[in-house]
Symmetry: C2
Subunit: 210 residues, 2 copies
């Protein structure tokens, strides 16, 4: 099949101007030019536009982050172990770790947690800065009691991560592995956060019936 | 204590123009005017600016969502049960549920999950639309195998939500309960997502040593 941009838009649910923007930004390939001002798109364009939409619109990645991730996904037969790490790193931009008193206290909390659970990760993993920042703000607001739940959070994160990796390990082909890892990480967060809020709704419904 | 805006900025880490923007948008009260073009701020302003920063900058809420949440937090001695639900609803804007074939398939998946786990929630809970959208995109991309992990996600979400509610239940005073619920929900997501990525890093390090 080869379709015009209007059909590409219809099949992906992404408006034409936004598809053109993705093409300008290098996230989606140009179509095959057939006549002046006409281009035709293939099945691979449909898939690519859907993937970009998943990362940008639903996952909340920036265009720059999305470009980094896709560049790594696009390399021909990459060595799986190195690319998996690179792709995951590209999903979060490096951030500096907050370095005032509450930032350092938060870092100690995270370090203690990692030690208790035997987690090993690179200290420059962008998630370190995110977690430290969120914990530091709990200290800023005098809401340290929110940290009581940290080990429950970590245990749940560990179970979810193990299920993710187990699923990835069952996939045969490396393309699908990388795409699944990226989409699974980004959309997995949306699902996990949404389910947590639904579970909250259920639990508060039981706490305050009626 | 009563301080100028420069000191308010220093103590909260929020730049002066941004504080002025929060004041213009009604998220933070005006200071007490002392002379022409001078205003003084109290301890409650420090706390409020930090809370707004937590919700907007770290939690990623929009200014409109933040205003909704704060309006509900600000009511004098509100009945806890109704306000808790309202505050949680204000964190997520109502969205329409995707209604094409994959959207309906995704809704069925979520409904089945809720039935298996005995969860009850309002069908207009904004998280329903988010979860349905994310699952529908997995169908769009032909990555349905990502759904294998859904029950593990739900179980983890349930444990985390139970720990959250248990923590809330231990708090004595209703102001702290509402603020803790809001901050705990918004920053809790940042912590949970970050820990999941760190657990991923640990698990892939074990899968691909070196």
């Amino acid at each position: 099949m080869a379709v015009r941009i209007a059909e590409l838009s219809r099949r992906t649910g992404v408006p034409v101007p936004r598809i053109k923007y993705y093409i300008r930004e290098g996230l989606v390939d140009h179509g095959e030019r057939t006549q002046l001002n006409q281009a035709e798109y293939e099945e691979r364009h449909v898939r690519r536009v859907r993937l970009v939409r998943a990362l940008v619109t639903i996952g909340g990645l920036s265009v720059a982050e999305t470009r980094d991730v896709l560049t790594r996904l696009d390399r021909p037969s990459p060595p799986l172990d190195s690319v998996l790490g690179e792709v995951m790193a590209a999903i979060g931009r490096p951030k500096s770790i907050r370095d005032d008193a509450h930032g350092r206290a938060a870092y100690d909390v995270l370090e203690g947690l990692a030690e208790r659970r035997g987690w090993r990760f690179h200290p420059e993993n962008p998630s370190v800065a995110s977690v430290v920042e969120a914990i530091a703000v709990m200290y800023d607001l005098g809401l340290e009691h929110l940290l009581d739940r940290l080990d429950v959070y970590a245990e749940s994160a560990e179970r979810v991560a193990a299920a993710d990796l187990e699923m990835i390990g069952r996939l045969a082909e490396s393309d699908a592995i990388l795409e699944s890892a990226v989409v699974g990480t980004v959309l997995g967060e949306v699902v996990l956060d949404g389910l947590r809020r639904l579970a909250h709704a259920d639990a508060s419904g039981r706490m305050f019936p009626g």
